[in-house]
């Protein structure tokens, strides 16, 4: 044994720490909304613009709220997972389309009238769902992002699991992967639906 081997020992300890650290998520700070009632909204439905929907309409059901937009690249990555999910699982998935027009860089909002924005947003969202498949039971349109603020949306896509009493039970930021769906969301849905 030579006297320089302690350096290797110290390095091994560091590696062990880092390896354990990889399994932890420092960002896994619970959203303040988890355990609280889902903030109320009443937004126009994409398929039937003259009707509106809010969390109170979903009372008594376990449901998912998925925040998306057609300009969001990660949403496209997530989309096949959601489509697959909607085919297999009988849990209502509600889409919250977030700042469809304003969130996109390509428009000068100062020069766009409100009804023009609305028309364009519905058109774009419909086209996107037609192109990529529609996993949503319904999609509601949050044109100005106010509901997004209430829900603390800070990166699209985001997904909320809401229970029968209308309480948020889980929030996931970023695209849903098959892994997260299988290991976290599905067990939670099963438990809530018991």
């Amino acid at each position: 044994m030579n006297r320089y081997f302690w350096i290797l020992g110290a390095f091994a300890a560091l590696v062990l720490l880092l390896a354990v650290g990889l399994g932890l998520n420092p960002r896994d700070v619970p959203s303040p909304l988890v355990g609280k009632p889902a903030p109320a909204f009443n937004l126009n439905v994409l398929a039937t613009p003259d009707k509106a929907l809010g969390p109170k309409d979903m009372q008594g059901k376990v449901w998912l709220l998925n925040v998306w937009a057609s300009w969001c690249v990660s949403c496209r990555a997530e989309h096949p997972v959601l489509v697959e999910f909607s085919k297999k699982v009988d849990v209502p998935l509600i889409g919250l389309n977030y700042k469809e027009v304003r969130g996109d860089g390509g428009f000068d909002m100062g020069k766009m009238a409100a009804d023009e924005e609305k028309k364009l947003a519905f058109q774009r969202a419909n086209k996107w769902l037609a192109d990529h498949g529609d996993p949503y039971k319904l999609t509601v349109m949050d044109l100005d992002g106010r509901v997004g603020i209430d829900y603390g949306v800070y990166g699209v896509p985001e997904t909320y699991v809401i229970d029968k009493a209308g309480v948020i039970r889980m929030k996931h930021t970023g695209p849903i992967t098959p892994d997260i769906l299988g290991k976290k969301i599905m067990p939670l849905l099963a438990e809530l639906n018991k």
Binding site: R3, Y4, F11, V20, P26, W71, V73, D104, G105
Partner: protein, 664 residues
């Protein structure tokens, strides 16, 4: 098509790196010159391929090719051209490619500038870099390929994070990476020396300018990042002890120790094992920094995309590179001779103390950075370690270091006399004490910590001046002072300029933390506020439009003693692509102070013409912080350009025989 070519070049580069990392190393071991000869052409090919690949990615950005996922995520057709180019390294994949580009360029520089080195040595150095390059190329190709396609392509890109749309992004990452990656050369020289068993003064002489060059880049890179944070974040802070900052600061501390330790190894043949260990550590810490930043094990204000697969890959890479080099070290080090003896008081012992203090400083930063992870790993909760810890442990370590910096240059090699040194520098110390008492009094707020900072800075300046003048006088031999001064070696100038840089830096830090003033106020148009004698009048806010954002631009008149000085126009920008408003502070920079205004939020969101939250800062000497860093880097540049690195074998053989006799 072009992204596929870039991808293909990257795959080819990985193969070339594998060849570079195996044949020359084996060849050097078995003395097969044909294999050794592969090193140089393979290095050129590697540099060419990676450069081509990088150019392909840049081409995709410049031409808005949103069918490449990475481009779609980090660019936008409205983004100005210079940011589209800088956006190449605005995200994870591209910044790894930049890292790679720098590595191959360093290797290419070694290949071009090593004509006087033995071929076996060159083969081992380039081979080691080749292995590192191979690992990184695999990492890029497997987990983070910037050329992945998005089919069908997106109509528009998501745009670059507005925080990054700044001049800082154009130069900060390249400088920082040049520093990080530059330590790979010192590392490769250390590994080559361990492999060959030739750990001598000649080795130290060869690797010294490379180490200094990397250190200069790292110094500038860190300073640039700090300056960027200062003007871009709008908080007026210049260093936050954030994990990502620490990740760059740790290699700097060890690199600084290495630069000094190499001096001892070169001049006296001592500290060989220690120097090699520092060279390995400096690069290992660069890699550790990459791991910490890229794996997402720590939370940081630098919100990088993270992916656990990447973390595992870097960790494996870390284990392979650092583990094998430390094992090699542990195996070879006991056989290395001790080198020249030295007395308890000597330049060697002072440089050793310098090294120990720098390593301790680095260890405290490492501890503070990893502590939250440790606590989390032990399931004891989630904590964060902030500036109070770092400030509390850093000052006690830095104080003796800065004090020693004043007397170190006076100490002779082998043996020095403390009374003699003290006699030479006593007036410097007296003068420093007077300045340390006077300056805080003039600024009207005396505190022990302020006085300590000024004392140390003044001490370094005065003692350095005495040392400089003394040395010039002793070599004057009838010439004028100026011509004798100009004949001093560049490395001597380099040392003093770099030390002066430290003093300037310390002054900046001390003054700004002691005497800065800030006010956080609510202002309606027409109102005014005073900070440290500066009078700010708010004239309201108007809307302005940029290429890819709209902004509320505040209009402030700055006046002193009733005399109008200038208009200041801080902005609050809303980028079309982002929900987060960005603050653009207005800064009037000056030699002795900065005045800084940043716009907060309108008090009533629907009435931007009414009251706004406004922050105004007075920051004395803040630019000295970065000025000091610039001086340090200039000092390093001077040292690197010293004539003796360009004289060929003469000095090398002389030192060899000298070292040989000392070991006997």
């Amino acid at each position: 098509m072009i992204p596929e070519l870039g991808n293909f070049a990257l795959i080819l580069a990985a193969l070339v790196a594998l060849i570079l990392g195996t044949l020359p190393l084996l060849g050097a071991h078995q003395n097969r010159m044909a294999w050794v000869a592969v090193a140089r052409p393979a290095t050129s090919a590697l540099a060419l391929l990676v450069t081509f690949s990088f150019a392909c990615l840049a081409h995709a950005f410049v031409n808005n090719d949103f069918s490449v996922v990475y481009v779609a995520q980090h660019s936008n057709s409205l983004l100005p051209l210079e940011y589209r180019v800088a956006a190449v390294w605005g995200g994870h994949e591209g910044s790894l490619l930049l890292w790679m580009l720098m590595l191959t360029w360093w290797a290419f520089a070694v290949r071009m500038l090593s004509s006087q080195l033995p071929e076996n040595m060159v083969a081992r150095v380039l081979g080691t870099i080749g292995l590192v390059a191979f690992g990184f190329l695999l990492f890029i190709l497997i987990t983070s390929n910037p050329f992945d396609r998005l089919l069908p392509g997106a109509a528009e890109g998501r745009d670059l994070n507005p925080l990054l749309q700044d001049f800082g992004l154009i130069i900060h990452p390249p400088l920082l990476y040049m520093g990080y990656v530059g330590f790979s050369v010192a590392f490769a020289f250390a590994i080559a020396a361990l492999l060959s068993g030739q750990l001598d003064a000649a080795w130290a002489r060869w690797s010294r300018p490379w180490t200094t060059a990397a250190w200069c880049f790292l110094t500038l890179g860190i300073a640039m990042g700090s300056w960027w944070a200062y003007y871009e974040l709008g908080w007026g802070g210049w260093w936050f002890w954030d994990p990502v900052e620490n990740a760059s600061f740790m290699p700097w501390l060890i690199g600084t120790a290495l630069v000094h330790s190499l001096a001892v190894t070169e001049k006296r043949g001592s500290f060989k094992n220690w120097t090699v260990l520092l060279a390995i550590s400096a690069f290992s810490l660069s890699l550790l920094g990459t791991f910490l930043v890229r794996s997402g094990v720590l939370t940081s204000v630098h919100a990088f995309a993270t992916d656990p697969r990447r973390g595992i890959f870097i960790l494996i890479f870390l284990v392979a590179v650092i583990g094998s080099s430390l094992a090699l070290f542990a195996w070879r080090a006991p056989k290395v001779g001790l080198g020249g003896r030295f007395a308890l008081i000597s330049r060697e012992s002072m440089l050793l103390t310098n090294n120990v203090l720098l390593v301790v400083a680095c260890a405290t930063v490492l501890l503070g950075t990893l502590y939250p992870l440790l606590i989390d790993a032990l399931a004891l909760g989630k904590i964060s370690v902030g500036p109070p810890y770092f400030n509390a442990v850093f000052v006690p370590v830095m104080t003796p270091l800065l004090f020693l910096m004043g007397i170190g240059p006076f100490a002779n090699w082998k043996q020095a006399s403390i009374p003699e040194i003290l006699r030479t520098v006593r007036w410097a110390f007296v003068a420093a004490i007077i300045v340390a008492i006077a300056v805080p009094l003039i600024y009207g707020n005396w505190s022990a910590l302020t006085a300590l900072g000024i004392l140390l800075a003044a001490w370094i300046v005065f003692a350095g001046a005495i040392n400089f003048v003394g040395r010039v006088q002793s070599t004057r031999a009838g010439q004028s002072f100026l011509s004798a001064a100009l004949k001093q070696p560049r490395s001597f100038f380099g040392m003093h300029v770099a030390h002066l840089g430290i003093a300037v830096f310390v002054i900046g830090v001390t003054m700004v933390s002691s005497f800065q003033d800030e006010k956080d106020v609510k202002m309606a148009p027409g109102e005014s506020v005073d900070v440290a004698g500066y009078h700010f009048t708010f004239n309201g806010v108007k809307a302005v439009e940029g290429p890819n954002y709209v902004a509320a631009q505040g209009d402030f008149d700055l006046s002193v003693n009733g005399k109008f000085m200038l208009k200041m126009t801080p902005e609050k920008r809303n980028y079309h692509s982002s929900q987060m408003p960005m603050t653009e502070a207005a800064i009037d920079a000056g030699f002795l102070r900065d005045v800084y205004v940043s716009l907060g939020e309108p008090i009533d969101r629907d009435k931007p013409e009414a009251e706004w939250a406004v922050r105004v800062y007075y920051k004395p000497f803040v630019d000295w912080i970065w000025g000091g860093c610039l001086l340090m880097a200039c000092g390093g540049l001077l040292a690197m350009l010293d004539r003796r690195y360009r004289i060929k074998s003469r000095a090398t053989s002389a030192i060899n025989t000298q070292a040989g006799t000392q070991q006997a």
